[in-house]
């Protein structure tokens, strides 16, 4: 076997390894999801067979229908989560972009230290803050309200939004803002008419992150709400307890509850991926 052939085999093996790797990746990532979908479509008796009887002929919509019968409750939780997530995102983007701009461009002293502190807030396990927050909210009669949850969610959403946007604002060429100044724009006008329109991608990225984090949050939600503002994650957890052995329905519920966020992630993937690349560069 000569050098050339050996090299070709080497390369072929390499390519093969990569394809195999990709295959394993696909199986690893998709298997649980596939199983989730299959479980939702299989009747109860198929699921309690050992091994589970995965026969497409048996596919049924009974599980999904069962969940949808309860749908008032599910829809109600969707609405709650939507309200909370949207409000949190809107507030975080508004307050966060203004603050990030101030830190990035308006010589607010201690800007860097501020950002580090802001990042440290990401490290707090919810348990550190929960009791004082609970007391705070109950004194303000905000337990089990949307507003209460939004305020608490801002505690971990706002810093991330500020971090993403600050990095981006710093990368906008100073000349642009100077040109606006020369043209006669005030600071707010520069921000509104020049900086923000240029920042739509990172704004979207920050917004998507904020929305998904708010939607999926469980710990604060379960402790700070009672009956009025049950969000989707709370419902999922309840279904798990409620459907105890109705496995098909339980999984169907979890799946249905997750679909909106998954769709959102796929639709906005461009911005999500942009958020990642900004983060990778600027750490």
């Amino acid at each position: 076997m000569n050098e050339g052939t050996r090299r070709r085999i080497h390369l072929l093996l390499r390519d093969g390894a990569i394809i195999a790797g990709l295959g394993i990746f696909l199986i690893w990532t998709l298997a649980p999801i596939a199983w989730m979908i299959l479980t939702s479509l299989l009747p109860h008796r198929a699921l309690i067979t050992r091994p589970p009887d995965i026969d497409p002929a048996l596919f049924t919509l009974k599980n999904i229908n069962g969940v949808l019968e309860d749908r008032a409750v599910l829809v109600d939780s969707f609405i709650n989560s939507a309200i909370v997530a949207c409000a949190t995102t809107a507030l975080a983007l508004t307050l966060g972009s203004l603050a990030a701009y101030a830190i990035a461009r308006l010589s607010v002293p201690g800007g860097n230290k501020l950002m580090l502190m802001v990042l440290a807030t990401q490290m707090f396990p919810g348990i550190v803050l929960i009791i004082p927050l609970f007391i705070l909210l109950s004194r303000a009669h905000l337990i089990d309200t949307h507003i209460g949850l939004v305020i608490v969610y801002l505690s971990f959403v706002l810093p991330v939004v500020m971090w993403i946007l600050k990095g981006f604002f710093e990368s906008i060429p100073v000349q642009l803002e100077r040109a606006a100044m020369v043209d006669g724009a005030t600071t707010m006008q520069t921000f509104r008419l020049v900086v923000l329109p240029m920042s739509l991608p990172p704004l979207f990225a920050a917004g998507v992150f904020a929305f998904i984090e708010s939607w999926n949050e469980f710990f604060y939600a379960v402790i700070l709400t009672r009956t009025e503002v049950k969000t989707v994650p709370i419902r999922i957890s309840e279904f798990s307890g409620q459907y105890r052995t109705a496995y098909g329905e339980m999984i169907a519920a979890a799946m249905i509850a997750s679909i909106p966020v998954i769709i959102m992630a796929i639709v906005f993937r461009k911005y999500i991926l942009l958020g990642f690349s900004e983060g990778a560069v600027k750490g």
Partner: protein, 361 residues
């Protein structure tokens, strides 16, 4: 048409004086260039005139009024930046009209004035394009348009053509000069390109380490530079500088470098240095001729440029050389013996310690 006065301007950045006492008086309608290498303070000075930065100390007057506290807009200045200053999300028309929009002028007025400016700068075909669709030259024209529409008292240019290719630069700079002449607006132009400065300015301020070294017409800068720094900054190829000493014996004054002695003419009497002092002789390449009789020298290097040839000559026993500009393409070989003639009327003398010009020309 603003008259600008800078009085003892100092600007400090973290312990370093970017501007270290700048004094300048720019008359109405003048076209003044701030010329110098990077770090000399020219861009800083421009930003201070614009009001984009605050002075650390000193006063800026416009038409006799103190403007230190005024914003750029209040100072009635418009600026053309080096790059990246067009609003990328706005069309050309919106870019130019932005300042009017900020002032809440009616849409019809904005449209009409933008149209006029576009015609002036030949941009009418591009009004609906976005900056990223334009070439470098077109972008800078839009930037100029944005400044023109302001009808300001001062135009400020911060190395606007540094990013363009050579041919485009030459064309753009003459367009800017013509625009200035047409509109009659005081203009302050910053560049590191001496040819650019020489070709379009009424007066040039050559800057060095935060101070103005010399402020004069291009002719003054070129022929009567105040120091070696200024002399060598303008003119291409660089002015020849010979490092040697002065020899006086009776009425005769000679300049000696290495083993070579050059007799000096009548103007040598004005040189204050005494016999034996080190002195530097400067002479521009166009004043060094290769002729029939003169100082013997040996050709070291020949560079045909096209319309002329740069011939570098040297001597044994010394490393110093002279560059002569010879018209046409001259076929000389390195090693050939030639005679060089230095025009005595064009000789400049510099103090080796301070770099200042002592006498000559």
């Amino acid at each position: 048409m603003t008259r600008i006065e800078l009085i003892d301007i100092v600007k400090t950045f973290g312990g370093v004086n970017a501007c270290d006492g700048v004094d300048l008086l720019i008359e109405e309608r003048e076209f003044v260039t701030l010329l110098g290498p990077s770090g000399c303070g020219k861009s800083t000075t421009l930003n201070l005139i614009a009001g984009l930065d605050d002075v650390t100390s000193g006063t800026i007057l416009m038409n006799g009024k103190r403007v230190n506290e005024l914003s750029p807009y209040q100072r009635d200045v418009a600026m053309v930046f080096q790059q990246y200053a067009l609003y990328p999300h706005m069309t050309v028309a919106e870019n130019i009209g932005f300042t009017l929009r900020l002032r809440k002028r009616p849409k019809s007025e904005i449209r009409e004035r933008v149209q006029r400016v576009a015609e002036l700068l030949e941009l009418t075909a591009l009004l609906d394009r976005l900056p990223r669709e334009l070439s470098g030259g077109q972008q800078q024209r839009v930037a100029i348009g944005r400044a023109v529409i302001r009808e300001p008292g001062v135009f400020l240019f911060d190395e606007p053509f540094s990013n363009l290719d050579a041919a485009l630069r030459i064309r753009m700079r003459s367009e800017v000069r013509q625009l200035h002449d047409r509109l009659g607006v005081t203009s302050v132009f910053v560049t590191h390109d001496q040819e650019e400065a020489m070709s379009i300015s009424d007066r040039i301020a050559v800057m060095r380490l935060g101070k103005v070294e010399q402020f004069g017409t291009p002719e003054e800068i070129y022929s009567t530079p105040v120091s070696k720094y200024v002399a060598q900054f303008v003119g291409s190829p660089r002015m020849n500088i010979l490092d040697g000493e002065l020899l006086r014996s009776g009425k005769q004054t000679d300049f000696r470098f290495g083993p070579i002695v050059i007799p000096l003419g009548a103007q040598a009497a004005t040189i204050g240095a005494i016999d034996g002092n080190r002195i530097e002789l400067g002479i521009r390449s166009e004043h060094v001729r290769i002729g029939d009789s003169g100082l013997p020298a040996m050709v070291r290097f020949v560079q045909p440029i096209g319309p002329e040839t740069h011939v570098t000559v040297g001597w044994n026993d010394t490393a110093q050389t002279l560059i002569a500009r010879v018209p046409g393409i001259v076929r000389l070989q390195p090693g050939a013996q030639v005679d060089v003639v230095l025009d005595p009327a064009s000789m400049l003398f510099f103090d080796p310690e301070t770099g200042n010009r002592i006498a000559g020309a």
